[in-house]
């Protein structure tokens, strides 16, 4: 161990009332400590964490010139900050303090007082040897840029961006589709109030567009994230629209002017049910109201040869830019809100429901588009042949609560199935059969809505549909379908003929959720949704400081919950940005430049990307602002060049020697 004559260690053994003193002879323990090298004084006291206890430490530091402090008491997770602060108050560097945990890990876990005493001796000696090797460190703070990035422009991202912008913060909102609005923009009405989705969403979308503090980047994706809380450097990939956003006024004349007289390509916004031209806009109220050109099918771009009716129609605005290219832009932000939303489950993997095989089996999202006045049928609910269904079946829990697909409950399907039942009935007068396992309607006014739909005459059949088969055996267009279901309340198996089946599909993580997870340095829970820091106490934080979650990317949830969570995430981000700075971990790793040979073993080991290889100097460099202090690189460094504050090789080795010599 370090033989440094200037070392003067003060040792304090806490009684913790009778918690420690009842099991351990604290006086003997203090006496034992007195005999150890470099110990200038050792005391025992009733409650070290009390004000007089702390005062004792402060006074001793000044009076006896102590330059290291060991407190044998409870877990460092409880009172390490307390004693660090006390030392600092007395002018001693706060990191020259070490605790020996003799309460939680000694006094409370054994009745054998002899063994307990030996163990306490070992832990105390270990702390004394360890603290001798401690170094004075400066507290490090990092400034937080007062600018936020919101990733995802659905209702969660929109709400978060607006809240932040209204608080006066600059916001960069990134959306990968040509318009913001997300899934909510596709819906017709929202449960349980039956507000028109567009009526409540589009004003918010416009507000985003008009807000002076919000920079809107649509048709863009996050390419990479570097840096750490306070200073994230985000690269954004901007896909070419082939139309200059700043020149376009959204008159849509180009779409009329396109040489394709008929819209013939499936419109993804309409779930492929509607058609679009090579130059198109997802829906009339899109924000920004700028069309986008599909380079795959645009004759000018794909073949280099077209009469360019669109350009002619655009006229003197001259907004078309066929030579536009993908661009990478970099933004530095202090905080990030991830609001990348969900993906609707694709039921074609369930063979017995015949989705994709029988034309009149639809997903709920497809039906939303059919019901939407802005949708492909202008709000008319029809079968593929254009006729109106007379009997409609709605299958709950498709892909949810199913060990074969997603074991979790998607939370919103029951309610949107009730809503669809109501809308179908309202628009077509059809008979509606909702086949459910349980109706889960635990929200505000949800049960009342359920009652209302029941009163309207929708039939509720308790049972999971087993098969959907064509009534006439060939499943041809216009042919009826049979839902085969065990009515578990009736106790009989029923075959229910319907014209249309709506599959209430699950909400699942986005297909690229794991890429997004890696980019932002956050985790996914078992089902693939992003993992919050704590399910109850930190529901919008992530393990990565400064990155917050909002909306269905964290788990299936409905619009009210999404909006609430978005505001919570915005508030958390605001709190951080308004504080202006955040304290860094003291136990960061660093590289001894002389010793590093640039072997690059450590680079890939850091999940926070804190280590980079300096190609010029051929060494590894650790960014202290990014380092979280796990010490994995230190343990892995083959040359011993990677070192760590507080948890260095020397400190841990000394602790080990202290422990092992007292068995």
């Amino acid at each position: 161990m370090k033989h440094d004559e200037t070392l003067r260690i003060g040792v304090y053994v806490c009684h913790c009332g009778t918690n420690i003193a009842g099991v351990l002879d604290v006086e003997a323990l203090a006496h034992f400590a007195e005999g150890l090298p470099h110990v200038a004084l050792a005391r025992h006291y009733k409650y070290m964490c009390s004000d007089p206890g702390q005062e004792l430490v402060k006074r001793d530091i000044l009076e006896y010139n102590l330059n290291r402090i060991v407190v044998a008491a409870c877990s460092p997770n409880l009172h390490e900050p307390t004693f660090r602060r006390a030392a600092e108050d007395a002018g001693l560097n706060r990191f020259l303090v070490q605790m020996a945990n003799i309460r939680e890990q000694v006094a409370w876990v054994t009745d054998d007082s002899t063994e307990a005493f030996t163990k306490a001796q070992a832990h105390l000696a270990a702390a004394i040897r360890r603290v001798a090797g401690h170094e004075a460190l400066e507290r490090q703070f990092v400034q937080i840029q007062p600018r936020a990035m919101v990733v995802g422009g659905g209702i969660a991202g929109i709400e978060a961006a607006l809240t932040l912008a209204e608080a006066g913060k600059d916001v960069i909102l990134v959306e990968r589709e040509p318009t913001i609005g997300g899934h909510m923009a596709m819906f017709d009405k929202t449960f349980p109030t039956l507000d028109c989705a567009a009526c409540i969403l589009t004003p918010k979308m416009t507000a985003v567009k008009l807000h002076p503090f919000i920079k809107l980047l649509t048709y863009s994706t996050v390419e990479s994230v570097e840096g750490s809380v306070g200073n994230y450097r985000v690269k954004v990939r901007r896909k070419p629209r082939y139309i200059d956003e700043s020149l376009c006024v959204g008159c849509m004349m180009c779409i009329d002017g396109c040489v394709f007289t008929q819209a013939k390509f499936p419109n993804p916004f309409d779930q492929g049910l509607g058609k679009r031209k090579p130059v198109w806009i997802p829906f009339p109220q899109a924000v920004p109201p700028v069309p986008v050109v599909d380079p795959e099918v645009c004759l000018q771009i794909a073949r280099g040869k077209c009469k360019q009716g669109c350009v002619t129609a655009c006229g003197e605005r001259n907004a078309f830019r066929f030579d536009q290219e993908e661009q990478i832009e970099e933004y530095t932000v202090g905080t990030i809100i991830v609001a990348t939303g969900f993906k609707a489950f694709d039921p074609s993997v369930i063979p017995y429901y015949g989705y994709g095989r029988y034309p009149n089996v639809y997903t709920s999202l497809e039906v939303e588009r059919l019901l939407n006045a802005g949708g492909p049928t202008a709000g008319k609910l029809t079968l593929r042949d254009g006729s109106t269904p007379k009997r409609v079946g709605i299958v709950h829990c498709v892909g949810s609560r199913d060990a074969n697909f997603h074991p979790y409950c998607s939370r919103v399907c029951c309610m949107y199935s009730l809503k669809l039942a109501h809308l179908v009935k309202e628009k077509t007068g059809a008979e509606v059969f909702n086949c459910y396992i349980d109706v889960r309607a635990p929200g505000k006014s949800f049960e009342e809505f359920f009652n209302r739909v029941q009163d309207e005459g929708t039939q509720f059949i308790r049972g999971k549909v087993a098969d959907i088969t064509p009534a006439n055996g060939d499943g041809a267009e216009g042919g009826g379908l049979i839902m085969n279901v065990d009515d578990t309340l009736l106790g009989t198996i029923r075959k229910i003929p319907v014209d249309m089946v709506i599959l209430a599909v699950a909400l699942e993580p986005q297909a690229d959720a794991s890429d997004v997870r890696r980019a932002f340095g956050i985790s996914c829970s078992a089902e693939g949704f992003f993992l919050e820091k704590h399910p109850k106490l930190a529901p919008v934080n992530t393990a990565n400081d400064g990155v917050f979650l909002a909306g269905a990317c964290q788990g299936a949830k409905d619009i009210p919950d999404t909006v609430a969570q978005a505001d919570a995430a915005a508030a958390k981000a605001l709190a951080l940005m308004d504080a202006g700075q955040i304290e860094l971990e003291p136990n960061t790793a660093w590289v001894d430049e002389e010793m590093c040979s640039g072997c690059q073993t450590c680079i890939s080991l850091c999940p926070f990307k804190a280590i980079r290889h300096d190609a010029e100097r051929k060494i590894a460099v650790i960014d202290p602002a990014l380092c979280k202090g796990c010490g994995t690189c230190v343990a892995a460094c083959p040359s011993g060049a990677a070192k760590q504050h507080i948890f260095g090789d020397e400190q841990i080795s000394e602790e080990l020697e202290g422990l092992m010599n007292y068995v």
């Binding site: 063979p351 060990a403 087993a466 055996g473 085969n484 065990d486």
Partner: protein
């Protein structure tokens, strides 16, 4: 009021939950997917979800005595669709049947007969073991009887009961012997020593009988040196692949469709003779739905020049069972008597609806079941039922030489 029987049901379910086969039946949420998926669920007094509900509610006695206990034909549809991942087919049904037999409740008479046959003769058909190799009489390829001439072989072929004894199946058996020889593998059979694998017995709930068979077969098989254990019967395959290892008997077993599929390259130059037929393939439940082997049999058929493949509405994992599994082979009368129907009749109509002239199968039970069904549904002569082996053999010119 609580009786000993009350608790028995719950205890049985608890035991099943801990057996490691699927999730605990106590997690059943009574969604009814099993009942409505079951091709005979409509006729059952207690389809799977009700079995669980009743057993849990202290009515095990009722369940054990119900005729519906003997109506599951082991098609695995409910097991695979169950959203709570409960192993109904291989777990719940056999356990309840076992309990029923232990409670001294008589199973349907037909079953008792097959039990006795198996006991006496080692096969369900009640045939003499000495006749096991009758199919190979005057065969133009040599059949090595490993029980008489032990030596290491590539393939130990467990011929199976139906393929050994049943005249219609013997045609297939002989064809397969020729194909094996043509492929140049060394192969042998167990001859008169061979016994049933016992899959049906396990499904019947005759766990004790099954264990005896495992022991006996293990003694036989352990003496032989082979690379692959081959079966024509998908049920035997399933038992050897899944249940034998649970009793410590593990063998590298393959169903013939997989075995031949692995040798597609070798087969390609041999299947030369066009077989003019529109063929629809019926997925058997064990190799198909349960083991998700859907493409190999289709690819084998696709090799044969002249064959046009058409699909039935219900195919692959959604295929309808022939009704012969899980003891169904002997239970048609019982099933029909209690409100059910012969699934083979329904299935062959589905096959005919495709316009095919040939129904291809890959399970020994199906030949006889579907040929009977063709008669009943007046499809005889319009729809031929043939094993994939027969079609391959015809194209390889290895078909029956003296078939009239």
């Amino acid at each position: 009021m609580s009786t000993a029987m009350d608790r028995q049901g719950v205890e049985l379910l608890e035991r099943l939950g801990k057996s490691g086969e699927g999730k605990s039946p106590q997690g059943c949420m009574q969604c009814g997917l099993c009942a409505a998926s079951c091709p005979l669920g409509y006729a059952m007094e207690f389809p799977p979800r009700k079995l669980i509900l009743q057993a849990e509610s202290g009515n095990l006695e009722k369940v054990l005595a119900s005729p519906s206990l003997w109506m599951c034909i082991g098609c695995y549809t409910c097991s695979l669709r169950c959203p709570r991942d409960i192993e109904l087919t291989d777990g719940l049904w056999p356990a309840l049947r076992d309990q029923s037999l232990q409670a001294g409740i008589q199973p349907p008479a037909e079953l008792q007969e097959t039990f006795q046959n198996l006991f006496k003769y080692g096969n369900n058909l009640g045939k003499s073991p000495r006749q096991r190799l009758d199919w190979a009489k005057d065969l133009d390829v040599r059949v090595l009887d490993l029980s008489k001439e032990p030596r290491p072989v590539d393939v130990l072929w467990l011929v199976g009961c139906y393929p050994s004894y049943y005249p219609r199946n013997q045609v297939v058996t002989r064809a397969f012997a020729r194909i094996l020889t043509e492929l140049g593998v060394t192969w042998g059979v167990l001859g008169a020593k061979e016994k049933a694998v016992g899959e049906c017995e396990r499904m019947f709930g005759e766990e004790g009988l099954f264990e005896t068979l495992v022991e006996e077969n293990r003694k036989l098989l352990d003496k032989c040196e082979f690379q692959t254990l081959l079966t024509l019967d998908p049920h035997a395959f399933r038992a050897l692949q899944k249940f034998y290892p649970q009793h410590g008997a593990w063998y590298p077993v393959k169903h013939y469709t997989t075995f031949l599929h692995e040798r597609m390259e070798q087969l390609k130059p041999l299947v030369l003779k066009p077989v003019k037929a529109t063929v629809t393939y019926h997925d058997n439940c064990c190799v198909g739905r349960r083991c998700e082997s859907f493409d190999p049999p289709r690819e084998l058929l696709g090799l044969i020049p002249g064959v046009e493949l058409v699909e039935m509405e219900r195919n692959r994992e959604n295929s309808l069972c022939c009704g012969g599994g899980g003891g169904g082979m002997w239970l048609d009368a019982h099933i029909v008597a209690h409100g059910g129907h012969r699934l083979s009749d329904e299935r062959i109509r589905q096959a005919a609806a495709t316009g095919a002239d040939t129904l291809a199968v890959s399970c020994p039970y199906e030949l006889s079941r579907f040929e009977d069904a063709a008669k009943v549904t007046s499809l005889e002569g319009k729809l031929r039922v043939r094993d994939i082996i027969e079609l391959l053999a015809e194209s390889m010119d290895l078909g029956e030489r003296n078939v009239s």
